[in-house]
Point group: C2
Chain length 184, copies 2
């Protein structure tokens, strides 16, 4: 869309940038629920200005995460390039959750429903596309539990979100056990 009405005034553009930077940092550090006031403070901007640019929290989310979720595509491509279907899937999961473990906000995004940030939902769907292919390949190769589906991956993602949150040192181990259970 980019309905480029009138362009932003210089100071406004600057503030918008500062807000995005602050929100990006704070989401990553503290998750999606940081108080709006904190974002404004870190951006050195008043709370009123914050609401002028981003009337709802989801406006922040929608402005920040689609970009970040593009990394999903990258790890998806990487996995698709791997010839061994099992290695491809296992590697994908490892990369996916490594990414999730480094950004608390991303962790939240992948866990929650975000009905007001359709761009984010779309980006997730795109990511899921790759995952679906990887699963199909592994199924065809007969290396993956025959009843596995993309829905199981959603469940796993939420479980991993929790594990990452309260034992960031353990997620690889937990994942490796689960992945063992996935073999045909």
């Amino acid at each position: 869309m980019v309905t480029a009405s009138r362009p932003l005034r210089a100071d406004a553009a600057r503030n918008r940038e500062k807000l995005l930077t602050a929100a990006t940092e704070l989401f990553a550090e503290r998750g999606l629920d940081v108080p709006m006031e904190h974002i404004a403070r870190r951006a050195e901007v008043s709370i009123g200005t914050l609401y002028k640019h981003f009337p709802t929290r989801d406006d922040f989310v929608a402005s920040i995460f689609p970009q970040r979720l593009a990394a999903l595509e990258v790890i998806g491509e990487k996995a698709l390039a791997e010839p061994d279907p099992w290695q491809a899937l296992a590697g994908y999961l490892e990369d996916l959750y490594a990414m999730q473990s480094e950004d608390r906000g991303l962790n939240d995004v992948l866990t929650r429903e975000l009905p007001n940030a359709p761009q984010v939902v779309a980006a997730c769907h795109r990511g899921a596309g790759h995952a679906g292919i990887l699963i199909d390949r592994a199924l065809e190769a007969g290396v993956l539990r025959a009843d596995y589906s993309i829905a199981d991956l959603a469940t796993l993602t939420r479980a991993m979100a929790q594990v990452i949150r309260d034992s960031p040192g353990e997620w690889r181990r937990f994942l490796s056990i689960y992945v063992e259970g996935l073999r045909a």
Copy 2:
């Protein structure tokens, strides 16, 4: 302990009971974070009375959950009675999470740190004792992944808590995959 100072006045004893009932119900339905006001309302008692009997949320937790956690002992005993070490462990996990899935408050209790409810912590430790024995048995029998430990069970429990919360229909399936991954 039971430092039976003077016994409670009749009306006070009645109110205490009503509060416990209300809290038990609401914790199970909504989790440990229900507003205190809701508990008071359901108990048909004023908020002041609530605070007289249970000055902190953890006083409720400490009064309610040790009993409930006694069920852990029961399923522990049941599992210990099972001759096959693998079946014993797998059955234990199934029973444990079935229990957890029926009580949102219990789910919270098993997920959180509760430094102010030592009775609850103690009850959990007792439960963990059984689990430890089941794990040792399975290890000795060589049917369980050699590096498995009780710490992994704590991680699993938090993961299951999450799965139970947002996909109550899927936890058995998720668990069964994980358990597959546990085999030696």
